[in-house]
Amino acid sequence: MELTRSQKEIQKAAQEFAKGEFDKEVTVELEQSRSYPAELLQKAAELGFVGLQFAEEYGGGGLGLVDACLVAEALCRKDSTMGSAVVLAAFGAECLHRFGDKKMKEQYLEQVTAGKMLAGIALGESDRGDDFTVLDTTATRSDNEWIINGKKRYVTNGGAAGFYLVLCRTEAKHAENSGVALILVEPDRPGITVADLGDKLALNSVALADITFADVRVPLTNLVGKEGQGLAQARAFLDEVKILAAARAVGIAAGAFDRALAYVKQREQFERKLAQFQITRHKIADMATKIELARLITYRAAADFDKGKADPTLSAMAKMTAARMAVEVADEAIQLFGGYGYMTEQEVERYYRDAKTIELCLGTRESQKDRIADLVIGKLK
């Protein structure tokens, strides 16, 4: 698989941007104060790194998911946390871009791609990121309005987003999945309560919150796409962003690897460079191999998506494989750094935590396997 010239250029531009703008001390400060890197996002947006796969008419790059993945990888490689924060600025906008109407897109997407607004999407109602079997949030039609009631959990950018796409039941629970819809909710509507989830294992600069909707009224026109399409839209959204998450994981692993590699080539113990010990060399070989494997499946999933052959199986495989790989590679990077690896200063411990967070979100290994097995095995006779 060969990247096009334009893809290589975008990759290079993202690398240069990250090199020039990311600063690990600033990252640590933002993480400690739990502040979003708004300025950084602005700059990234100005250079076109937000919403690369969105249409140009909404300020997007008019490019594909492969491009978006290359940028996500490059940014996370240089700084796992800031890279993730920038990529997650649009988390939910992917869904709006695919299923929203022109007016919504003009109103919101342009702001997201300009780096002036964070996107929000509120799907799940349990600890499990991709489990919609629990879906008790309702949207009741009343004259010209939807009245929304329910509680959504683990909303990325929760409390900071400029809009939320909320997965609601519009009909009673009779038929399987039929009466479900995505409805856009503006954050300033009365009845919305945001409960921040507090300190996190990683990614403290990106908000995460539970959001309660109590008789929240929005116009009927806030329906995204059609009624009854909500679950399919949510699944399609997850299938897309799982590939982006996989790209972040590849970047995180590569970044941890870069640092470990530099360290073992420089650090001396027992009168030899660490890189001269066979056990270190083999660790490096294992790490490099794992990264390449995960990268291949991720690019493949993104390329299929861009060709209009989005494959949910491949999305789940890429997310599961890349996240696991990133945890293992970052873990090994810590080990190679020894005591320094455990210290905040050397970053790899943060890479490790960021990697683990990817594994925990959008469905864990078990969820991905459930999904892959469903798709591979199919319905039994």
């Binding site: 990614l203 080990q335 683990k356």
Partner: protein, 380 residues
């Protein structure tokens, strides 16, 4: 078959300690984690209640107990889910250097304070450029009249900020052979030329005051040398068995704690099809985790018995250190998966444990060092 024989006295000790920790430690842990230090007063309370240096002979103010008392302290502290109150390091790793190698005079001077919590100790071996490789240590100790002059810096020192007394490993630059150049010295806090650097920011162990230490023409009396000149390496080697065993106890205790919480969470949390533990994948994960923990525990208990009997089990304790610390890490990693998104929130207690256990495969000799030692003793 019970491998460990706990007596009534041990059980009472554990019960008293558990109560003490529930009252004096657990309620404050979150605060200490934020403040990145444990108040000295807690050490003093703990010492006066008889939980520091429980195995030290009574004549020096210790508890006069055995290694099982030490095991109990490690296990009970693990239950408080924090790693800052490093009394096991103090009681079972640092103080034993004094107990075994200090002169009677030094013992009388320091040990009672160590036992009652007035003196917090640290051991300073690691240097910025000498981690696992002790032989490349650069800190020097030179005799000058009746004094020793220390120069150099140490890093990753547990209890680095709170410590009152440090066991410092340093080299005599005039000694020809690297291994015979090393001696251990006692340095009191406040000695001119001894300064503490910044407290180090870490992935975990947030309530632990890990720090750098600096020695700049730091003069100490010659009598503060532990043992004969040049025997430092030998002393370190002698004490490594217990040090590794202590880490294994910590690792197994941490893994048991994580497993208990993961089991409870999966039992009490409802998933799409009933309690989470009805999911075959999660139930199998819990079984696999329990199996590893049980196997680790059994091996550990056997080694504790052998250690107490005075057996030389360097190979086995090195195996236990590496295997149990990796096991604890695997268990923590897997447990987070079971918690799914809740595993990404700090308010889920095992998130702290996950951050804390990561260092166990690094400190007290990395696991690669352990494997190297085993290879050397067992294969070469």
């Amino acid at each position: 078959m019970q491998l460990l024989s706990y007596t009534e006295d041990h059980h009472r000790f554990r019960a008293r300690l558990r109560k003490f920790l529930a009252e004096e430690v657990t309620p404050h842990v979150d605060q200490w984690e934020k403040e990145h230090i444990i108040p000295r007063a807690v050490w003093q309370k703990m010492g006066r209640a008889g939980f520091i240096c429980p195995a030290l002979p009574k004549e020096y103010g210790g508890g006069g107990g055995d290694f099982l008392h030490a095991v109990i302290v490690i296990e009970e502290i693990a239950r408080t889910n924090h790693s800052g109150l490093a009394t096991p390091l103090h009681s079972d790793i640092v103080v034993p250097y004094l107990e075994s190698y200090a002169t009677e005079e030094l013992k009388r001077k320091y040990l009672p304070g160590c036992a009652c919590g007035d003196i917090i100790t640290a051991v300073a071996m690691t240097e910025p450029n000498a981690g696992s490789d002790l032989a490349s240590m650069q800190t020097t100790a030179e005799e000058d009249g009746g004094e020793i002059v220390l120069n150099g810096s140490k890093t990753f020192i547990t209890n680095g900020i709170n410590c009152d007394l440090v066991v410092v490993a340093a080299k005599d630059p005039r000694a020809a052979e690297a291994h015979q150049a090393l001696s251990l010295y006692l340095v009191e806090a406040g000695t001119p030329g001894f300064s503490r650097g910044r407290r180090l920011e870490k992935m975990g162990y947030h309530s632990q005051d890990t720090a750098e230490l600096f020695f700049n023409n730091c003069r100490i009396p010659k009598s503060n040398r532990l043992g004969a000149a040049g025997t430092g390496f030998y002393m370190l080697m002698e004490k490594l068995q217990q040090e590794r065993l202590v880490v294994a106890v910590m690792a197994v205790a941490a893994a048991e704690g994580i497993l208990e919480q993961a089991m409870r969470y999966c039992r009490e949390t409802m998933g799409p099809k009933g309690p989470l533990n009805r999911s075959q994948a999660l139930a199998f994960a819990l079984v696999e985790m329990s199996t590893e923990v049980k196997i680790g525990r059994t091996f550990l208990d056997k080694l504790i018995v052998e250690h107490m009997a005075g057996s030389r089990i360097i190979v086995e304790t090195s195996m236990a250190k590496y295997w149990t610390s990796e096991m604890a890490k695997r268990i923590a990693d897997r447990a987070l998966d079971l918690f799914s998104q809740a595993g990404a929130l700090e308010k889920t207690p095992i998130v702290r444990t996950f951050r804390d256990v990561r260092v166990m495969s690094i400190f007290a000799g990395t696991n690669e060092i352990m494997k190297g030692i085993i290879a050397k003793m067992k294969i070469n």
